[in-house]
Symmetry: none
Amino acid sequence: MRAEIVSVGDELLKGQRVNTNAAFMAGALGGIGVWVGRVVACSDREEEMSAVFAESLDRADIVLVTGGLGPTRDDRTRKAVQQLLGRGLELSQESYINLVARIKQRGLEVTDSLRDQAMVIEGSHVIANTKGSAAGMIIHCGEQFQNHYLVLMPGVPSEMIAMMELTVLPYFAALSSTVIRHTPIKTLGIGESTLAGMIIDIEDALPEGTTLAYLPHATGVSLMISTLGSDRERVDCDNRHVVDAIVQRAGKFIYATSEVSLEETIGMMLSAGGLTVAVAESCTGGLVASRLTDVPGSSAYFLQGFVVYSNQAKERSLGVPGKIIKTFGAVSEEVARAMAIGCLEKSGSDFALSTTGIAGPSGGSPEKPVGTLCLAIAKKSSGIVLSKTLVMHGDRELNKLRFSEALLRELWGCLRQE
Amino acid sequence: MRAEIVSVGDELLKGQRVNTNAAFMAGALGGIGVWVGRVVACSDREEEMSAVFAESLDRADIVLVTGGLGPTRDDRTRKAVQQLLGRGLELSQESYINLVARIKQRGLEVTDSLRDQAMVIEGSHVIANTKGSAAGMIIHCGEQFQNHYLVLMPGVPSEMIAMMELTVLPYFAALSSTVIRHTPIKTLGIGESTLAGMIIDIEDALPEGTTLAYLPHATGVSLMISTLGSDRERVDCDNRHVVDAIVQRAGKFIYATSEVSLEETIGMMLSAGGLTVAVAESCTGGLVASRLTDVPGSSAYFLQGFVVYSNQAKERSLGVPGKIIKTFGAVSEEVARAMAIGCLEKSGSDFALSTTGIAGPSGGSPEKPVGTLCLAIAKKSSGIVLSKTLVMHGDRELNKLRFSEALLRELWGCLRQE
């Protein structure tokens, strides 16, 4: 089946918002064997929307629309669809009941405008909104548009994602006869071209129907192995074959072959070993602690974090000797090691991590340029197990992210040897 | 003048890459008074490209295409254009000379393929590529397409951005007579529909050429007031008039009328007052510290953060009495207040903030459901100035984000009264 994505909203045409929704939807649709032919961003004027919907419905079996479903007056998607299909609105009892329950739970007043938010296009399959108020719709367009489907969802990413996962993907997966298997290969500590060189012969000998994509991101590169076919067993076998070959070749750079983050992987390793961790952060400013605690259940292994931005805080909270800071500078492996040891003692954790560096944009010097990171890891039984100095090349936020990634990568390496 | 953007590349249709190029181009074009009507992402098959280019050229004065010009699959975009316009290729001497110089500078060999990369559509205005090898083109399409313009650029963001800034924007700015003014209005603590209700009469009486857009995001809503016209003074005046009216009406929910984040706004307020801040975080796990330290120069006012996940850490690092935790529970305003006081004392800051709550997905109870946040703010001179209990409705990451936003919002409120 062929799909098109229509993203409604003037903010996309003014460059005020990047269209991340379309990327998510396209990836998710690929996962159920639905191929996206075009992505169109258009304004929220009714005539424009009607024209775009009609053109897309002519070409594609499924047209997925996001945006323009909220409670304000620039939300005109329903009107454009009414006009295009010549259908009226009807109340979705289920949506209305959910909305009222939601509002009451929050102690707010039930107003007339709620009813309006629960109105859907006649004959729609209603998509429940578990994260917000506006209902989504799957509309079978009838012979007028070759029995193609029009799917309406809100533009708020969390609402759209929940709708896709809970309703839209299962709905169309059941209609699609193509089988697709995607396996992500999540790597760290290796660049795109080095990895490509390492697996070039595997890439040259991919079985028919299997593709290998490089997905570079801010902190490294992931691979996606996708296999498409009509026979589930064959598809799974071909896909596994390629994944196994890559893991065998580049295994030491691979932390997962499923959709898990590095912090989730680390959490599983810590939990499995009954180990705890604490962090002492200067230049990452709490980002490492925040990433580790993004994982559900992290309170079982994450004990404590110290964000010690000033020298005084490093001395007072972690017992870093002022003399070390004076002699080597706050950004030094010596200070990173003293921070890790202090963090270990103060927290009583099994592992203690530390960062000190220069995120930028100012504060650099010829010897220690912006992007310099000193990190250390200490272990209860053995003291300092590792300290390193690295240099990154990004702006402030990117440097913070890459600093945190470098530290987590080193922790992953340590845990691997446990 | 009206433009459309066409982004060529299968990676956009598979969700492997987010279309950041289009957002940049749309924003930049708005700045010279060129209005983007549609953004289309399509595959790099020649027939598909030709069809999309033709449709866009029918509707828009300028069609800007990125992608399909690189050295590996370089000829598809040019081929599609050749086919569409019935024109041949010619060598751009200037591009060829630059390319050869570039290659020699890197100590590489000059091969025949270089000549191919310097071939452009007949009659093009060549856009020099200062960051890479493929030349860009501005093509005047003649009467066949109502004298509209087709602009071809590579898809590599750095190359495209340099071409836009050095050549494309000056070229079309000289042809455009429209002026645009965008003003964002950044709000907090108010929902989309409540805000809409509050300013409905202003929205009903917008001057001609001015639009008001709602940009909802995970933690609230922003407005964008856009005014378009031919007279700079008039455009600025109309825009300011609407912005002023909204600020007068909803001022207490507005923290900025420019493109700054809440943490930047808070940073400016702290700096202006010569004040410092420290944070004690349980459920936000370091996110508040990380957001505050995302701001360049934050080391001037951010002293220290304590991520105290375990009860033991709360007692040991902040001196929260074990008795209070036992009596009221770790998630309580009593504990939040004790954390803020402890943080104030340990850090020596002017303001100390705290969070304790249940981010989920587990750990909730009927009395304290998942999403519960207790927060407190203490001030050096006056002790606790505020404590609150709120309930959010998101998954773990969204709750963490909304918790951090709620705390920063309260800090903003306190700083406003300074």
